[in-house]
Symmetry: C4
Subunit: 507 residues, 4 copies
């Protein structure tokens, strides 16, 4: 009979006392994936700090009056014609004498013939633009023309005299000016952590942006750093064995994850079969259909979680091996895969805590409250969206926190969680009265509504769910679980069965 | 009978299965209004960034030692006579050579005859003021005299020699000095987004403020930027068709909003008629009056919301069209209309979510808790007001967050929601002991009272409302809604009726 | 009988329908006290801004390399002997040429004979101090000697040559050096708000602090500003009538407050008498004593509040009149009196809201929860005190937020309420490992304990109180208040009586 | 019988009315330990401020262009070869003329023969490193060589000429450069607080760090300050008696703590004996075992707390005496011992509050909620750990708050408690799109999950515990404590017994 179906596997499991292989695999997986993540993180940090420091060094070398802080996106802003010329010539001068300036192993990029790649300056301007603001008159050809000039560091002295016409900028027509050059560098610090140094190519673009024609020329410095294995190297004094051990370790991680994934898939298949048998039996004996909620309980979400995390870990490990073998440099993608898989693996630990009843109360509470919270988030989300749009359009021009739609969403979300509200208020003070009034109404109403109403309702929802679950559990422990009778409480009734059921399908 | 009145429209609705036109209109409206808002926002940003950057550029051009940051309202503060003269002459020098300095398309303003408008310096001083602080003696005529001088950029060299007496300032008498001039500019960047460039007139006022006679002369730079269509223009290389499409789109939005408003007004009219019939019937059969709460339920608040949002959207769209046609420049007003209407439209979505019972619980909870929360806010508001006044008068002189009444209110509101408390405490440390002690008592008592008592009570109120609603709903689902019998629970009883009622009046 | 005692006054009150004079007086008082506070605040701001700006101006005039920001207490810190001399001579130079420098009406202080008061420099040093750090040897006479020198601005050129020995500082012996001088100023800006200008004496002390002998000489600039009516003045062009109107208004405020205080005292006396009669009656008929809680209910706390607020307002108004009559300058004390009285007056409004039953629920909840919350605060306060001491001693040397006991208390209180935690964590990072570990354990444990346990318990307490009160009220409304039977619930039972009772004793 | 065992000691205690010595000892202990802590803290502050200010002074003296702010760990960063040489020579120049520069009593360190210890510069470089970035070629010998040079302040003029080859740096090979020297100082300020001045040796290390070879040379200045009693001193003008009084006071503290510890140990021994008798009796009469919970109640946790705090205080006091006797300088360890003991002593006060029943409710609630909260923290901790790892690996390179594992943990913990969320969001804006998207998903999900779900559940747990305890107490007060019957509620039933029991074992 039915009782047998549910009871026996549980008893069998207790009778057999075989070692819970799946648990062992999971624990091994947690340890290994976390170790792998930390190892990758440490080597990643070296690379990132090298790039970051080079970025800082190059900005300090090539940007005049660079203060070390980037406001918004641009590094430096200049406001007079003289300062534009100064900044421009400063770049060229510094570039010419790079060898004597730079502290790090940087040199000019070379093409395949060994010739130094020149620095290239391109200026883009309107084909025709005679603007006379005092007459409120203009005559513009909106098509853009681009003129370029190349500058070889070897012939440094002559460029200013030779290209005087090029450097005679007509600011009314000028849209932007781009200086591009390539520098090569070597990341020597990896030598000390027993890895081979990588060679880097820095593609540097310095942009003088006059698109807005507002009297403010913004100067950007962008670096595109690409690493590649060096072509010609010789090293002595250290053993470079580390990489091999890492590759072996990574393969082992992949193997463990594969095992874990296969075991979980098997369990899912078994669970589906059992469900079919159970529903057939249920249908025959009670001529009732098994509820959808009950069916969902059979499809153990944890297994799906484990399999997803395994797949992510495998992909991440493969990427990591590629990176270590210097055939890929995409650290970000790899770290997202590894990071997400580690997150999921740790979340999966909760499942094992759920086998202790006291912990289970908490987990079930969250599970029970989750749909309600989500549903409520839907409602609140509508108001939230409304506020986001409204804030963006009205306050956007006056407050940097409201500049873009995603920023508004973040700002409101932050305010909701107790962010610096006063500064948000205060930065809106200098504006015109209408916007000032609107901003006050907007912020007060939003915060009051969300902090006091919405957050309180969250607490009410979860307290409610907790009490429901707690009542059910006290009922359960007193009734000794003759739970299949009360099948009209779908979720909680199946809980009881599932506990025994986990013996069948689960670990 | 009564049941028929309530039941049948609902059934009729289900029977007819006609397409819910109103819902379709609403969805269309949401999509269109949001699109319109985003389009307007993007074009608005261009204008605002142009103004902002010009503001920055002009401050950097005309203010000596401008650091790029405005403290409070003033841009620069100077403390010695020499620095006042330097700053003053700097403005005049920079103005004279504007053409060679500025990076953007800026030029002197001209009057209608094509003559350059001169820069005007006005100084305002007490008619008579012989002050001898060391004798504690003064002799003041409090009436103000104003003397002005104009300065033509063409005759730049001579002004200093010619007006030496004007520039011999008597700081004891001087109240303030205003330099005003007009510059014209053209916002060329709109060319790239396929709109016509606007011409701008910048009315610049630089104020040297010595009103306080405290030894600190504050320098303000204010810009009043006014845009107008350029008088004489010629453009090639791009099509300027965008504006037309936008106008068509705006008209379409207006049409949709009108439709929506009309449909909702019709529903309200129908509802009022039904209410009259219902109350007549109720009066005749039970000889009881319909309660006010029940009557309010008939006047569906959602319709009012929709109509208000429609009206706002229509006004906003008209303003937007005017702005696009360059006949208006009032971006702020337009964005407030559009923003508020979008907010209301999105809030209106909640109503449709309310048709699902599970969502309804949450909405009703908020509705039920709302009056209590408001009532409680009243009580708390009294204490809050008291604290606001008290904080302003005592701490105002010592702490910038307590400088104005509205700032105190904001500061307290922010503290309540977890703002940086420590800095608020810390900034009060250097003052005299009495104020120090008071500030501590003030802040500790305020925060304890509000954060611990008031916020907790909010949670209690909402939890309570949630439980009431929940109980009612479980009752409802078990009793199958013979709700008209228990008319002594006014709000919740009508709920049940309303659900069916919505069939009549609503969507 | 008893019912009559309680019922009848209530009914009498309803019968008589006399105008509630007390309420009228209270409303008038609220309006007037708030107006008075705002008026005082506005005039106070002028004075404070004058002082603040003078402070800034003097710092900028006399401190070399002053950046406009005071770190901790000192304004500038210098590290080399040369910079000490520079800063010192800078003060003297600037002082000598003050007339040509300052923008404001500042001049040298004079004694009663009209002679300019000289600047005085005093240096304090150890009587004998031969220190040889390299030999780890010292020979100190810990007694301090003080040598002074005066410097007359008239003989500015000669001081450096004449006092060369004085300015030859022995840094090993030097403890500190104080420069004091007096400047006079006149606050002319009040002319524009139709008040008489005040004369100010600024007693300026510049301290070069070498007490710590740590190689860092801290320079403080302190100003003691004292205002007095100017001795010899003449003003024309404005009417100075404002002050008179203000004095009349203040007297009127005092009159209203006196009335209010007298009325409330009368009510208290009446209440006490009634209590005596009631308890005698109660004793005779039921031979039971009236509980202490019941007795306390008779002594209406609101009256005490009103009387206290009246007294504060009266004292504050008298001080304000004195200040306006220029015979006192103690703005702070006056503002504390006025501020506190305004706070109490607004809090008192809650009492009138309590007459509406729905509001009463909330007020009573807070009242009922208050003792529990206080009791709980006691417990939490112990742990809090422990953490305060512990944090001060261990983290004090390493973190500025933990420098003093009151600062630690504030910091912990702020952390509790969601202050910037990360910066607190982050600033502790560079220190030695033991302290680092301790700081983490300290912060994590404190925050977890307080935020999660203590704050949640607050919510539990208040939710509980709310439910108790709510239950009682539903009981009350159903039972129609035969409340004197259940005298074993002391507080809530008397509530019911009090409601009627307020007719007798209250408004 | 059993009742006698529990009842009588309680009654005996009431009968005897002997003075509660233990309570007196505890109160004395609290006062004394707190006093001791404050005294130690004040003297500690002098030492710490001396060290801190010396640190600042030395950084200002020896680091060129030092801005007064340390970014991350380094003090100054330089980017060009010229600036490296400048900074290096600046150190040497300043060192040579230290006597004329420094304001404080600092001099060169001397060896035991009285000779000045020279400054030593060591540079470390790769044995061989020919790097040609433009060819992507390098030839490195990873072994490091170190070359040193010493510099005597007496022969200051010649070093640059004599060691020109040493100062010819090959930046491609250079790994780092360390300048070390020793300065001696005397902390004279303690003279004024009537303590003997200490002599300090400052071991200063200035590191030019080029390990990363990124074009950015970071300059660190580290000081290791060691204090020792001065060798040769003579002081007059003050009595140095303070130290003796302090030593006597400390001994007294130790005596009190010892007494307290002994008394508590005795009580624990008595309690264990009683437990044995009780369990024997219980076993004989009811033939049931005493539950583990009941047993734990006998082992009063408070006593353990008191003993631990006593031991810590004793160790701390001994350390303090050593420090005052100048034979130890380990302020940190001492302050941790004293601080922790003070914390525990104050926490112990709660126990005495627990004797009042109303306070007990709160204490018991926390006690009852504690295991649940801990258990729940376990679950939440897993997710938290997952997020920590995931955030570190993915966001670590792009956001300084995610740089190290402990920092990520702190950052997430801070976010959870309402830290500045927006800045965390905002600092991630400039990065590549994938990471941007990930960071948003990461932050939104983390905050929503924890703030809304987890924190709300905390509140639910504690509200629940509070209600359980409250119910039990109302039961208790009505039933007049025939508590031994219901032994199936282990904790709460024993509570009742314990209250009486405390008479036996406790105070």
């Amino acid at each position: 009979d039915l009782k047998y179906y549910f009871m026996s596997p549980c008893e069998k499991y207790r009778a057999r006392r075989h070692i819970p292989w799946k648990l062992v695999v999971q624990i091994l997986k947690i340890v290994m994936i976390t170790t792998q993540l930390i190892l990758f993180g440490l080597s990643n940090q070296l690379v990132v700090s090298y790039k970051e420091e080079n970025m800082m060094a190059l900005k300090n070398l090539f940007l005049k009056d660079y203060s070390g802080v980037d406001e918004d996106d641009y590094s430096v802003a200049v406001y007079t014609q003289q300062r534009v010329y100064d900044s421009l010539f400063y770049v060229l001068d510094q570039y010419s004498q790079l060898g004597r300036l730079s502290v790090g192993p940087l040199s000019y990029g070379e093409d395949e013939h060994g010739d130094v790649l020149p620095l290239i300056i391109c200026k883009q301007y309107y084909k025709r633009s005679s603007v006379e603001p005092s007459n409120e008159a203009y005559d513009i050809d909106a098509q853009l023309e681009t003129v370029c000039m190349s500058h070889d560091p070897k012939t440094a002295n002559q460029w200013k005299t030779q290209n005087s016409s090029f450097f005679d900028l007509d600011f009314y027509r000028l849209v932007d000016m781009k200086i591009t050059f390539q520098l090569n560098g070597i990341n020597l610090q990896t030598v000390r952590s027993r890895e081979l140094p990588d060679c880097y190519s820095f593609y540097i673009t310095i942009t003088f942006d006059n698109q807005c024609h507002s009297g403010k020329v913004k100067i950007f410095l962008d670096i595109d750093a690409q690493s590649c294995p060096c072509q010609d190297w010789k090293i002595s004094g250290t053993a470079q064995k580390n990489t091999h051990y890492l590759l072996v370790f990574d393969s082992f991680v992949i193997a463990v994850c594969l095992t874990s994934a296969v075991l979980c898939s098997r369990s899912i298949v078994l669970a589906v079969r059992l469900l079919q048998r159970f529903s057939r039996f249920f249908h025959e004996n009670y001529s009732r259909k098994v509820g959808e909620d009950d069916q969902n309980e059979f499809l153990n979400g944890w297994y799906v979680l484990v399999i997803v995390s395994d797949l992510l870990a495998i992909i991440g490990s493969i990427l990591k091996m590629e990176i270590q073998a210097k055939s890929l440099t995409n650290y970000d993608v790899c770290s997202i895969f590894l990071g997400t898989s580690t997150l999921l693996v740790w979340v999966g630990v909760i499942r094992y805590l759920g086998y202790f009843q006291k912990y289970n109360v908490l987990i079930l509470t969250m599970k029970a409250a989750f749909p309600k919270v989500l549903r409520f988030c839907c409602c609140a989300g509508m108001i939230y969206l409304g506020y986001t749009f409204c804030g963006w359009i009205v306050l956007g021009p006056y407050h940097e926190k409201f500049e873009g739609l995603s920023r508004v969403a973040e700002c409101l979300f932050s305010l909701l969680n107790g962010d610096d509200m006063f500064t948000t208020f205060a930065q809106l003070k200098d504006k015109n009265t209408l916007v000032w009034l609107f901003s006050r109404a907007y912020l007060y109403s939003f915060i009051s509504l969300f902090v006091y109403m919405v957050l309180s309702l969250f607490i009410a929802l979860i307290t409610d769910a907790y009490e429901t679950i707690k009542k059910y559990f006290t009922l359960l422990s007193s009734q000794q679980c003759n739970c299949l009778q009360d099948l009209n409480l779908p979720i909680y009734s199946v809980l009881c069965c599932c506990q025994r059921y986990d013996g069948v399908t689960g670990l």
